[in-house]
């Protein structure tokens, strides 16, 4: 768990207003977090290794690319950084849109420090969780990658709920061979039970793959 420690988290602040930037920077640093500040969305996007950021504190009104634009752009490129939106004045349509798009929080300036820090904490947590899920998925995918083609076929049949006999008939192999493959799949996929395997397959989207074949 590399991101579990708070001090490792990097918070990016994007605000075109210097006062706001500096105030935010000081506040966040006082909470023991690392801060990087940007005056515009473009500046932030141009930063190499933006994906390392744990939380984005983003002003809604930015010259050029606005806060919502940036959120959209990040979603498009698969940059999943939890965003805490800040705005100078309450803008309900904008806040709804932001929240729908997965914003952590939508705060109106001047905001309460606790609310902001809490939101940042939540964002960090969410980021941590996201990163964890990504890790698990990658492990599952690695396991799945280690299966042979026949084993993937057998796995697919198994999670589809077919019996060994049905699988053997379907694949035109002996039932015994099916058992051998099934044993390999269970071991490689580190599945304790068929139910476990089914859930894993679900995470990998295998069942949906089969369904689409229908």
């Amino acid at each position: 768990m590399p991101k579990s420690r708070e001090s490792d988290a990097v918070i990016a602040v994007v605000d075109d207003d210097l006062s706001a930037r500096e105030g935010l920077s000081s506040l966040i640093r006082s909470a023991g977090l690392q801060v990087e500040v940007f005056a515009s969305a473009q500046e932030f996007l141009a930063r190499p290794g933006a994906e390392a950021t744990s939380c984005l504190v983003l002003d809604l009104q930015l010259p050029g690319l606005s806060g919502l634009d940036l959120q959209k752009r990040m979603a498009e490129v698969g940059l999943e950084i939890p965003i805490v939106f800040l705005t100078g004045h309450g803008n309900i349509p904008a806040s709804v849109q932001a929240m729908k798009a997965g914003a952590v929080e939508f705060l109106t300036k001047p905001f309460d420090e606790q609310e902001l820090l809490q939101a940042i904490q939540e964002a960090i947590e969410r980021d941590r969780r996201t990163r964890q899920q990504h890790e698990e998925m990658r492990e599952l995918r690695d396991r799945y990658e280690s299966l042979t083609a026949r084993e993937r076929q057998v796995m697919q049949q198994v999670v589809s709920g077919l019996l060994n006999k049905q699988i053997a008939a379907e694949l035109n192999i002996t039932e015994f061979t099916v058992k051998i493959h099934r044993g390999h799949v269970m071991r490689k996929m580190r599945a304790d039970s068929v139910a476990d395997l089914v859930r894993t397959a679900e995470n990998l989207g295998i069942r949906s793959l089969k369904r689409s074949n229908h």
Binding site: D16, L18, S19, E22, S26, S30, Q61, P63, S66, H89
Partner: protein, 773 residues
């Protein structure tokens, strides 16, 4: 001889009264008196006189003895007798007696035997008596002679006393006598003159040939005439000369006596008199006035040439007629009146008409001056043709009437004031009509009576300044009419001289119309100012959200920094450095918020702000700070192209910010519907020639229809649904008041560019006088 000289006889009669009376001899010594008639004056004392007797007897005795010694038999008695005669002649009676006695004694002592004794023989008595008698006779002659000589001397001295020149010449003209008068007159002394030819000496110029004079002289014994002599110093004198011929015992001419007196002065005086008379006559004849010498009953005695010419008569025709014949107004009553006045010795001046010979009349001014000659009262009348003067007077009257009419029809009120008193002497009709007084009422009043803005001090200072040559202007004074109502005037006062007196001329122009127009203009200006204010307030309303944001930003920063600061301090080891930094930022942000609010307040304030020297970049920057959030929310990017070396301008900060605000807000709004291209608001400043600064506000909005681009600055022209149509109109008013202008152009098919110019700031008084908008 003296008898010839009448003049000297007249002049010195007293001195000549008693011939023969012993007079004091003239004081001149023997050396000078070597004249023809001058005799050696004897001023011997008794001693000398008696001494002479003794001496002469002694000499005679000596001579006699000497001759005897050489045996010349001479009658010694004769010698002694001679000595007696000499003593008698020179010494007088006393010395003669003495000489006689001495001679007798000496004769008896030396010559009569027995010598060395004095014994008179009876036989010698006859000789003795003869000698005595002879001596007595000689003495008597001597005495007579002496008396005659003395008389002659006195007479000759009298000749010297006269101032006339008297000299005697012989027939050849050789000077024989020359008196003191001649010496003084001609400069030659008697010694120098005697023996010289008189005509040579004096370069005589005769009025007729000398021969004729001599002939006349010979014939009559006299000649008189004026001759010209030249003095020793060369000056010429005219003398009246009288010549008398002196004849000898036999009646033959021997000498000529010439008596003269200097008449040069008299001649000159006569000349001058003649010249003066001639001059006077010329003067009178050339006088432009006609002279009439009038005698009894108005009869003309003499006239000058002008009188003849003016009346057309000859002098001869005029002399003898009466004034009635050419004076058209001369009737009995008039002549009586004139006569009475002149009789009292008073000059009379009157105007009348003279009639020429041809019957035409002309006006004259006559001055009659009475004077008396030989008991008669005469008068000298000077008649001056006053046709021209009459005409000039007529012309003057006409001109005056014309001028009066002119002045009366002028729309300004004229007041002519006495300089010292300050009272009104005359006014024109406008003055009466405007104030509601009659001319008679106004005359005698002072301007203070109706000019409510005047006081004594102002009146005095005005007079002083006017006297110094200034035209004193009061651009608005209030005049009160007789009915009490007031009206404004512009008055100017200046001084002028007339007839040696100083006057003040005050010209007052009724400026009621102008004043009303000014009032209206003021009201209109106020209205415009109000409208401009409304425009600003409404702009602020539109900008409320943006403005709130602009205040909120720094406030947010303040809160963040303060919160952070508390946290920095709350730790186990307070981070003072961070806390201090935070506090600094709080101060900065607080100020920033305050500035925003101050700008808003300035922009929404109603009162006019003063004209000042402005940096337009900064002025525009402050506006941009206010609309920044508005632009962001409308996704408008603001770009500025500010010239670093932009010249300052002179103007009203709030008004110019209002212009920029209007233009920027319009631009943002114009771009609100644009999605296919960037929404860009570009504001630029730059210096342009000559002496101007130009600002451009460029948007990428919908642009303006070229057909209406000229109308956009008109009032109430708007393309916006909620617009008043005042913004651009106000912008134009503001810029015009600043001496600048505003116009719009299309931005290359995509949007509009607004341009405005302002004159550069001049150190010498911000000449762009900003009217209160």
């Amino acid at each position: 001889m003296l008898v010839l000289n009448r003049k000297s006889k007249k002049e010195i009669p007293v001195k000549i009264v008693a011939p023969g009376t012993r007079m004091k001899p003239p004081a001149f010594d023997a050396n000078e008196s070597a004249g023809y008639l001058s005799l050696r004056p004897l001023r011997l004392t008794h001693l000398r006189r008696y001494g002479l007797a003794v001496l002469s007897v002694g000499i005679a005795l000596g001579v006699g003895l000497l001759l005897e010694h050489f045996h010349f038999r001479v009658p010694s008695a004769l010698l002694l007798l001679f000595a007696v005669a000499l003593s008698s002649w020179r010494g007088g009676r006393g010395p003669a007696v003495l000489a006689a006695i001495l001679s007798i004694i000496a004769f008896y002592w030396y010559f009569v035997e027995p010598v060395r004794t004095i014994y008179i023989y009876p036989s010698e008595i006859p000789y003795f008596i003869t000698f005595i008698s002879f001596a007595a006779l000689l003495s008597w002659f001597g005495a007579i002679r002496r008396r005659v000589e003395a008389d002659l001397r006195e007479q000759a001295a009298l000749l010297n006393l006269t101032h006339d020149t008297v000299f005697v010449m012989d027939l050849e003209g050789v000077i024989k006598y020359w008196n003191r008068g001649a010496e003084e007159q001609y400069g030659w002394t008697a010694e120098q003159a005697l023996g010289r030819g008189v005509h040579d000496l004096l370069k005589t110029v005769f009025p007729e040939p000398l021969e004729e004079i001599k002939a006349k002289l010979t014939r009559t014994g006299r000649w008189e005439g004026e001759i010209l002599h030249t003095k020793r110093d060369g000056t010429q004198v005219v003398v009246a000369s009288r010549w008398a011929l002196q004849r000898g015992e036999q009646g033959a001419p021997v000498a000529i006596l010439e008596t003269s007196n200097d008449i040069t002065e008299r001649k000159r005086a006569e000349e001058e008199l003649r010249a003066a008379e001639s001059r006077f006559r010329t003067f009178v004849d050339h006088a432009t006035d006609a002279f009439f010498l009038i005698g009894d009953h108005g009869r003309v005695l003499d006239v000058n040439r002008q009188a003849c010419e003016s009346l057309g008569y000859t002098r001869e025709e005029l002399i003898g007629i009466t004034t009635r014949e050419f004076d058209a107004n001369a009737d009995d009553v008039f002549l009586q009146w004139i006569g009475n006045r002149l009789d009292t010795g008073v000059d009379c001046t009157f105007e009348t008409h003279h009639r020429r010979k041809d019957g035409t009349l002309f006006p004259v001014e006559v001055r009659a001056h009475p004077f008396w000659r030989g008991g008669r009262r005469l008068s000298l009348s000077l008649a001056r043709d006053i046709t021209e003067r009459k005409r000039a007077e007529e012309a003057l009257r006409e001109s005056e009437t014309r001028f009066r009419t002119f002045v009366d029809h002028v729309a300004d009120a004229f007041f002519m004031l006495d300089f010292e008193q300050g009272t009104i002497i005359d006014v024109n009709r406008c003055a009466c009509e405007s104030l509601g007084y009659t001319r008679e009422e106004l005359i005698g009043m002072t301007p203070m009576d109706f000019d409510v803005d005047l006081d004594r001090a102002t009146v005095e200072s005005t007079a002083e300044r006017a006297a110094a040559g200034e035209t004193v202007l009061f651009d608005r004074h209030w005049h009160r009419r007789k009915d009490g109502t007031l009206f404004p005037v512009e008055a100017q006062t200046s001084v002028f001289w007339h007839g040696g007196r100083r006057f003040l001329l005050k010209v007052a122009t009724d400026i009621s119309d102008r004043w009303r127009a000014e009032q209206q203009r003021d009201r209109l200006r106020q209205l415009e100012a109000d409208l401009a204010h409304i425009n600003r307030v409404s702009l602020m309303g539109e900008l409320a959200a943006s403005v709130a944001h602009e205040v909120n930003q720094p406030l947010s920063g303040v809160v963040s920094n303060a919160s952070a600061g508390l946290r920095w301090l709350a730790g186990d080891v307070p981070n003072l450095e961070e806390a201090r930094e935070g506090l600094r930022r709080i101060v900065r942000d607080g100020k920033r918020a305050g500035q925003v609010i101050a700008r808003i307040r300035a922009l929404t304030k109603k009162a006019a702000t003063p004209t000042e020297k402005l940096d337009l970049n900064e002025t525009i920057g402050e506006v941009l700070a206010l609309i920044g959030d508005e632009a962001k929310r409308k996704s408008v990017i603001i770009r500025t192209h500010f010239a670093d070396d932009l010249s300052p301008v002179s103007g009203d900060r709030v008004q110019l910010q209002q212009v920029v605000l209007n233009l920027a807000m319009n631009a943002i709004e114009a771009m609100s519907v644009i999605d296919e291209r960037a929404r860009e608001l570009a504001i630029g400043t730059r210096n342009i020639d000559p002496g101007q600064v130009q600002v451009t506000v460029q948007d990428s909005g919908t642009g303006i229809d070229p057909q209406t681009i000229d109308r956009i600055f008109d009032s109430f022209y708007t393309t916006k649904p909620g617009g008043m149509g005042m913004g651009l109109s106000i912008c134009r008013s503001i810029l015009q008041a600043h001496g600048g202008r505003i116009w719009a152009t299309a931005n290359d098919g995509r949007g509009t560019i607004f341009h405005f110019t302002l004159p550069k700031y001049h150190e010498e008084g911000s000449d762009a006088e900003v009217a209160g908008i």
